[in-house]
Amino acid sequence: MTDGKREDILTVLRREGIREELLTGVEDFRRLYPVNETDRERIPHPEYMYYGKTVWEQALAAILAGRNLLLAGPKATGKNVLAENLAAVFLRPVWNVSFHIGTDASYLIGTDTYDGSRVIFREGPVLLTALKGGFGVLDEINMAKNEALAVLHAALDFRRVLDVPGYARVELKPETRFIATMNYGYAGTRELNEALTSRFAVLDMPVISEEDLMKLIRGRFPDMNEKICSQFVLLYLEISKKAEHAEISERALDLRGLLDALMLIRQGLTSGEALDMCIVNKSFDSYERGLIRDCVLARIPDDLTKEVVFRG
């Protein structure tokens, strides 16, 4: 997405060559399930576009077929960007749930609380998603205990219901979908059990390709010098390779960091300063920082200014 007027994500997808029947399906979905005015503010306006034709087609097909999606893959593969993009393209309000080890059923469904005069039930994000027909983004789902996730089983399979103990049995609106993300490598993550995995269509997220990364950066910074942009892309891929071979940790493998660095250059910092802040210094080990810095030095000069990087 550019800084200027945002174009409809559907238009971008059409330009990217996504199969027309899928896009027609999306348009039908939008018509069939209009959004309440009160929930309209929850429809995301993604800052970044996800690029990857195959992944897009798989994801759209799964959502149109009524399936929930599990986006699985290593760091910086655009799982959250895609989840947000999907909600935007289907025009659905989003409820985000960031999972952690303390996540329990009451956090997802809702809890009792006291409003000053009586005990009331406060709805959790999963219940709100079900009631409002939104997209529930279950971020880092494998951070939570499997026991906590068991409450979702009935909501995620053909029954499409949520049982709120002591209150009601809620049927999910037909347009409700859940998009979960999981990373294999993070500390504290665990394997999802079979029961839960079987309730999702699993999309193995590929590492972003050189071409798509170029599109992503150019989409965000259309005035960027093309040759310099390609060097930033190659730098990212080289850091990615270094992390893949465990020469460095994944801390520096940060796509957001790379884009942030470009933003800082636009703000007037030199390339060296910006990359230090947004990529190199993400590692807290001085030796590792040295390796990352060498990687940067082999691609990007220290002294690039915004006048050189951007056309103006």
Binding site: T111, T113, Q231, L291, A298
Partner: protein, 605 residues
């Protein structure tokens, strides 16, 4: 498994090379360093580009072909200038920063030249120096040095073109040496060079060769996959008359038994049954053991034992003392090697400890019971509900609190047989990392190694619960491994801890899953002859011991580290609770997965 280890600067250089080459499975035959020992950034990139654009093996063979010539260093310096030009031209289009890096390298050359003393200058080979000066002057835009006609021709010849393929490059290098130095590289055939693949030589940094630590076998024969073939030494089979000598040897090498006779008797009753009935046991502590080879210093026995040994010593030949001295000396050397190896790996090891500790804490937080705490929202607590209308107290709800209850201990059992000889440093480091990380996560850890020698199955406690993990570096491999006896011993040791029903006992066995002992399995009811303790029989006995441990509630898992030929034994012995660790960096993931799996199974049970 042959492992190559690099020091900090070497690894830094390798990273630059790998990055330039675009691949990380490349074992660079060259590395470039500055005179102060730091990596030469630009030339390491050049080395990486050789791999990227050429058949680096053939280039390496060529550069090795003149190694015996007294002018080899000069040839190196000159030819690298040619190679540099060639890869620079090739890479520049895809890496525009290269021109700036090249210029920077040129400036460094002149800074270095400025700092050189007159004596140093006199030691230089002038043809080489002039070529270097000419190259870098051209790159940095300085005034060119005065060159003779021959030197000018050399300079032109060293502009190897960016269009060269491997053949062209080798041809150009050969022509250069032939034209200007009358050296015929063709006289040295490739076949006579032999395998030079793993030789590392350096350039730009004379007199300080790049040190490459290759873990090679200290004994036995070693195959490519690191499998050690042990000689089945008949001398290791003991006669009954050697019992005293054997005990002396074991005591001398491993120190006193930490159990008194009565407890040892109970241990024997529990362990020395079935296939292990003829096994003798020894349980020692490495922390109480000195590697001093002088008997007077080493001897810490009780008075009674001393008397007995003095009597025995008269009967025994000096060879026993010699054996003990040699073993202790080997042990001391190995402990030093283990520590040295760990120090080289300190950075990744520290990262592995941190990662594993963090992951273990997360697992514990997940699997351990969270004590409920009062809150203003959560599950309504029926017993407290009256407080809401009567006292207007809203804290009548319960939510999971931060405090958890658990009592977990972990034991690491390390196979220390001779088949581990090639990997001693790695295993010690792996055990150290695991112990340190689990301890940091609040789990007390004990580390025990085992081997079978002279009919004894010796368990040596390298680190007890609550002790510092440094004792783990005393890990030493030798002898056989009677896994079933060792596991039965562990069962007995862990059995002593029962009492707290909530106590979770984790046992990680670092193993090559190849039980092997020279003490045969005695004939059972139907068997007429004793069977060798090896192969399927060894696996069967070990699997039974693991089963007994699990029946006792000990969560048992294997960390397999060995030749793939024995991999199929692992599920037979340990079921699905195992992980394979081929490289040290896989260890933390392996331990994490196993810990999680064991706790999950424990909860399910």
């Amino acid at each position: 498994m042959i492992k190559r280890n690099y020091s900090g600067n070497q690894r830094k250089a390798c990273n630059v090379i790998w990055n330039a080459a675009g691949r990380y499975d490349y074992d660079p035959p060259f590395m470039a360093f500055r005179t102060n020992g730091t990596p030469d950034f630009y030339f390491n990139m050049v080395i990486g580009f050789i791999e990227k654009y050429f058949d680096s093996g053939r280039v390496e063979v060529f550069l090795e072909s003149y190694r015996q010539d007294r002018r080899a260093d000069e040839f190196d310096d000159l030819l690298w200038l040619g190679i540099e030009n060639c890869v620079y031209e090739k890479e520049l289009a895809s890496r525009p920063i290269l021109s700036a890096l090249r210029k920077k390298r040129g400036e460094e050359f002149f800074r270095y030249a400025q700092d050189m003393s007159e004596q140093q200058m006199m030691l230089q080979s002038m043809p080489v120096w002039n070529q270097q000066e000419a190259r870098w002057a051209e790159v940095t835009g300085r005034r060119m040095p005065l060159l003779s006609g021959r030197e000018k021709r050399m300079q032109e010849s060293l502009r190897f073109s960016g269009n060269f393929g491997t053949d062209d490059l080798i041809q150009a290098m050969g022509d250069f040496l032939g034209t200007f130095f009358d050296f015929d590289s063709g006289r040295v055939s490739g076949s006579r060079l032999g395998p030079v693949r793993n030789r590392i030589f350096h350039f730009l940094h004379r007199g300080r060769p790049v040190r490459d630590l290759l873990i090679v076998p200290a004994g036995g024969t070693v195959s490519e996959n690191g499998l050690v073939t042990l000689p089945h030494d008949a001398d290791l089979r003991r006669g009954s008359g050697r019992a005293e000598k054997d005990e002396k040897y074991i005591r001398g090498c491993f120190g006193d038994c930490v159990y008194d006779e009565a407890r040892m008797e109970m241990l024997r009753a529990e362990v020395c049954t079935g296939a292990d009935q003829n096994v003798r046991l020894w349980l020692s502590s490495a922390g109480k053991m000195s590697f001093d080879t002088e008997p007077s210093d080493r001897d810490t026995r009780k008075e009674q034992t001393e008397k007995r040994d003095r009597t025995l010593a008269k009967k025994l030949s000096d060879s026993c003392e010699r054996d003990i001295r040699m073993t202790l000396s080997d042990r001391r050397r190995q402990a030093e090697k283990n520590l040295e190896f760990y120090k080289t790996w300190q950075l990744p090891a520290r990262e592995a400890v941190r990662k594993l500790a963090q992951e273990t804490e997360a697992i514990l937080a997940t699997y351990m019971r969270h004590l409920p705490t009062g809150a203003r929202a959560g599950s309504l607590c029926a017993e407290k509900a009256w407080r809401l209308p009567v006292l207007s107290d809203p804290a009548v709800f319960l939510k999971p609190g931060d405090e958890t209850e658990h009592h977990i201990t972990a034991d690491l059992l390390l196979d220390a047989s001779q088949s581990r000889m090639n990997d001693q440093e790695v295993i010690a480091a792996e055990a150290y990392i695991t112990a340190k990380a689990l301890s940091r996560a609040g789990i007390p850890v004990r580390v025990v190694d085992f081997h079978s020698l002279r009919g004894y199955t010796v368990l040596e406690i390298l680190k007890d619960y609550g002790e510092d993990p440094e004792g783990i570096f005393r890990y030493f491999a030798g002898g056989w491994n009677r896994d079933s006896a060792a596991l039965k011993c562990m069962r007995a040791l862990l059995h002593d801890q029962t009492g707290d029903p909530d106590h979770i006992r984790l046992l990680f066995v670092l193993t090559d899953a190849s039980p092997n002992d020279d003490l045969p399995i005695p004939p059972s009811g139907n068997g007429k002859r004793p069977r060798e303790y090896e192969g399927a029989a060894g696996v069967r006995e070990t699997a039974a011991a693991v089963k007994a441990l699990r029946e006792d509630g000990v969560c048992t898992a294997a960390v397999f580290h060995g030749a793939s030929i024995h991999l199929e034994n692992v599920p037979q012995i340990y079921g699905d609770c195992f992980t394979c660790v081929r490289r040290m960096r896989q260890l933390s993931d392996g331990i994490r997965i196993l810990t999680e799996q064991m706790l999950r199974n424990y909860r399910r049970d």
